[in-house]
Symmetry: C2
Subunit: 110 residues, 2 copies
Amino acid sequence: MGITKTEHFTDKQNELATLAKAIGHPARIAIIEYLIKVNSCICGDIVNELPLAQPTISQHLKELKNAGLIKGNFEGNAICYCLDEKGFEKIKLFFNHVDSYLENKKNQCC
Amino acid sequence: MGITKTEHFTDKQNELATLAKAIGHPARIAIIEYLIKVNSCICGDIVNELPLAQPTISQHLKELKNAGLIKGNFEGNAICYCLDEKGFEKIKLFFNHVDSYLENKKNQCC
DNA sequence: TATTTATATTGCAATATTACGATATGTTTT
DNA sequence: AAAACATATCGTAATATTGCAATATAAATA
């Protein structure tokens, strides 16, 4: 149905899914990588960098911001975007959990 | 258009997006967490654990498997599933990259 | 205040995802 | 071989996502 049964899962599971989903698009990966490279920039810079129209970039930025992966400050008439540690910190905890499991239990099954 | 312009992005960006997208659903987060808890199990166990129908679980397992996040071995007439380090290793590299950036550059902008 | 510059929003078309009933496939057991 | 068990696939309905043209909004500057 295209609709996810979020009510059947925990808040944490839903939050993690939202974060991962926000990262799950190549344009948004490219935006994150670009922000790491230039530290911070305005929306127009990303529009020039990526082969997507301005409204599309704006939409991707909105999703990254809603997920807590980037933040933006008004700077004159433009908005300066950069990474937001908060979102990445939350995902990091999940992957730390997975990694510590994988390091201890090596090829138990499969 | 619902269609992602993968051709405009690098293979690495597309692969990372595929991995993150596979994790980006609460049911698949729940499956990963359950596999960490029980180490390995068959599909039917997950069907009993989660409030989703068997075909839906089967579909989610397929996506996790295609992304390289889980693997399955035939064991009798059932299939034993467990986490696959390969997929997680690839995502880990990306997050390590992000984290080392975030640790060095604290609140440069925003 | 009119113009320019920068970004967001709206509306829409095309495609993707989610979910499940019904059914198919394959393996084990009787 | 038939029945039981385990999982995958098919078909379909409902909803979500992606992308962009057109347009709106908002700030800076002339």
